[in-house]
């Protein structure tokens, strides 16, 4: 409770959390509010916003409802962002803990692999992966996670390196626990908080990467994505700019919200740490 109060202490955190809450609500109510296929043709093509109140944000080049697409796009963006971040954190924590706890040759090997992934720009990696595997939601998530797990791996390893020298770890060894059990039951949970602090950055980056992939036509064509909407609208940028601007604003707000909320979490934990 205390922590929550501290979290809501900063205006950034409040702004970030409310944007995120709005987004989550959008994603949740999308199938209720706009049941049926969001890509169905709902009206005349290229209807500007605020003309027809049954289609408040107008329609795109085929006559699809922009508002419905925006809501369903929020689902894709959030789903991809969260799934990719979860996968990246999971792989990163796993690799980092193993490397830090095992040390020696395993550490060297795992860290060199991490280096190798870190030297390739993550967007290029995602681009290459999706072009080979073919565009689908799973492939996009995997592609983004593939470029994002190195940060958490490094942070986790650094934490584990300091934790494994603690007394309770030595104690666990003495009572004869299996090293893997020690690593994942004793060390990892304590190394996790700073790794989780990276999550907001990763989610924000994942949402942007997903949008960029969709913009380049490498997103899942059977789903509405904000990046895909921007790409669609680009052909008519001069005559119907709202088609690109609306999802663009949504994207900016989302990334900003995720980032601000993440900042809030970091700050509230920092206050807690300095207090303790």
């Amino acid at each position: 409770m205390n922590r929550l109060r501290r979290f809501f202490h900063t205006p950034e955190a409040i702004a970030g959390a409310s944007i995120l809450a709005l987004l989550i609500v959008m994603a949740l109510v999308a199938p209720l509010l706009f049941s049926g296929d969001p890509q169905a043709i709902a009206g005349p093509a290229l209807l500007p916003p605020f003309q027809d109140w049954s289609l408040p944000l107008g329609t795109d080049r085929l006559g699809r409802d922009v508002l419905a697409e925006l809501f369903h796009g929020a689902r894709t963006s959030l789903a991809v962002g969260l799934a990719a971040a979860a996968a990246a954190l999971f792989i990163g924590a796993l690799v980092g803990t193993l490397a830090g706890f095992a040390g020696g040759l395993i550490d060297e090997m795992l860290m060199r692999v991490t280096d190798a992934f870190q030297t390739v720009p993550s967007f290029l990696l995602a681009l290459a992966f999706v072009s080979i595997v073919g565009p689908s939601l799973g492939a996009v998530v995997a592609a983004i996670a593939l470029g994002a797990w190195t940060g958490p791996a490094r942070v986790a390893r650094a934490e584990v390196l300091s934790i494994r020298e603690r007394d309770y770890v030595a104690g666990a060894r003495v009572i004869g626990m299996h090293p893997l059990e020690i690593a994942f039951r004793e060390v990892l949970p304590n190394a996790l908080p700073p790794v989780l602090a990276l999550s907001s950055v990763i989610v924000a980056a994942a949402i942007l990467t997903e949008a960029a992939l969709s913009f380049l036509g490498l997103g899942d064509p059977n789903r509405v994505t904000w990046g895909g909407m921007i790409a669609e609208g680009r052909a008519v940028l001069r005559s119907a700019p709202f088609l690109s601007v609306v999802p663009g604003i949504a994207l900016v707000l989302t990334v900003l919200g995720v980032y601000l909320a993440g900042e809030g979490v970091v700050e509230s934990t920092a206050v807690r740490r300095s207090l303790s």
Binding site: Q39, I41, R61, G63, P135, G217, N222, A235, R238, S239
Partner: protein, 536 residues
Amino acid sequence: MSELTISRRGLLAGSALLLASTALPTIGLAQTPKKGGRLVLAADSEPRNLNPAIVASNGVFFISSKIVETLAEASFDGKDGLQPRLALSWDGAADGLSVTFKLRDGVKWHDRKPFTSADVAFSALQIWKPLQNLGRTVFKDLEAVDTPDELTAIFKFAKPTPFQLIRNALPALSSVVPKHLYEVGKIEDNPANNAPVGTGPFKFAEYKAGQYYRLTRNDAYWGKDEPYLDEIVYQVLPDRTSAAAALEAEEIQLAAFSAVPLADLDRISKVPGLKVITKGYEGLTYQLVVEINHRRKELADLKVRQAIAHAIDKDFVVKTIFLGYAATATGPVPKNDPQFYTADVETYPFDVAKANALLDEAGYKRTDDGKRFSLKLLPAPYFNETKQFGDYLRQALAAIGIEAEIVNNDAAAHIKAIYTDHAFDLAVGPPVFRGDPAISTTILVQSGIPDGVPFSNQGGYKNAELDALIAKASETLDTSARTDLYKEFQKKVAADLPLINVAEWSFISVARDTVGNIANNPRWAVSNWADTYLAG
């Protein structure tokens, strides 16, 4: 008061006269072509091989048709729709076994060597027949080319070949390349494929990858006073939205092949100094076609194919996707073809209820979730419009209970998926009608084509009756009998739906007012531009 009105009127009249007098000389200039100047235009692709004798495609012609000429070019008012280029006349024998070309005298290659019938014989036998994508079919029975003198070339065919077909093939398939440069070494690896040498009004000057192609004036061109332009520069602008901006900023003077997106035309037509031209592509009609994989048991059922045809609102496609710059299609020959088109075929008006009834009849009832079966749909990535039609088709199919999953590929992967791997159920393709159904249209439905031949029937469709009709038409010499056979062909295709023709469209040019002699033949964008000029 009245005095004032009179004086004002007088003033107006006077200024109008003054305006007219300054305007007159410019009008005069626009009518007589002016020499000199550099035409800068947008190019959206960068073909590596610029030899039109090997790669007969519009992307290559767009650049190399100015350098390498054909025997004849399409024409709005010439006899048989042709005007002479390197050949002055063409004459088919009654038995269909030979065609005699009389060639133009005094034509020189860009390297000053004389152009002779030996060049024509070499191009036809060594390149068009064995190597060219389209020539392989049209010239398959070409046996020899006799050259009794330097200005006569007689094509000899092993089997009777319709003269009508040869005539219709001349504008696109008969690019003549110099024998003296191509006779040594492998033709495919010849350096002249990347820096072509021809007889045309412009010479190839340079190519900077990702930037531009530059052509310069051929001073020794055979056309009197031609060409008018000094230089043509193709500015590479792969991004479609940038062509419109470049036109407005006067960085380029011409954007052909719909480089300006259709959605921007309405706006750009109102920009002073720019004109939107829809003519000049009549000989290059693209067809929006739903390709069908007949290996799928549902799609092998004619009722299902009819249902899909009824589910597509062609008027919506023309109005919304092509913004009116297209026509609805009735069959495999486009409406604007003057020789072969017939409207007397089965049509499939937009009727969702009927489509649903047909599917029920075929035994594909809706399950509890409202779906009958699902399909993989591959829209061709070459055009915005084919991609958008893919999105539309998915919705149209959803309305009749067929769930379509869209699979996007890049151009190379798309061609492989459809024409080699057959990994599709439905595909959206843009085949081109090239003035005669035998050139690139019958191949879309004919059976027995080996795997991997792009833009051919790879859907596993087999109809012995239709195959026999195609074979018969290919050896019918009499023009009207042949035309009738192709009308029959259209009827059969429309009735049995090996594929579904949705719409046919062509391209739009946007140019500055100063560019003259635009769109003066049905293949203007891919003709030689000897008479194109820049005023002012």
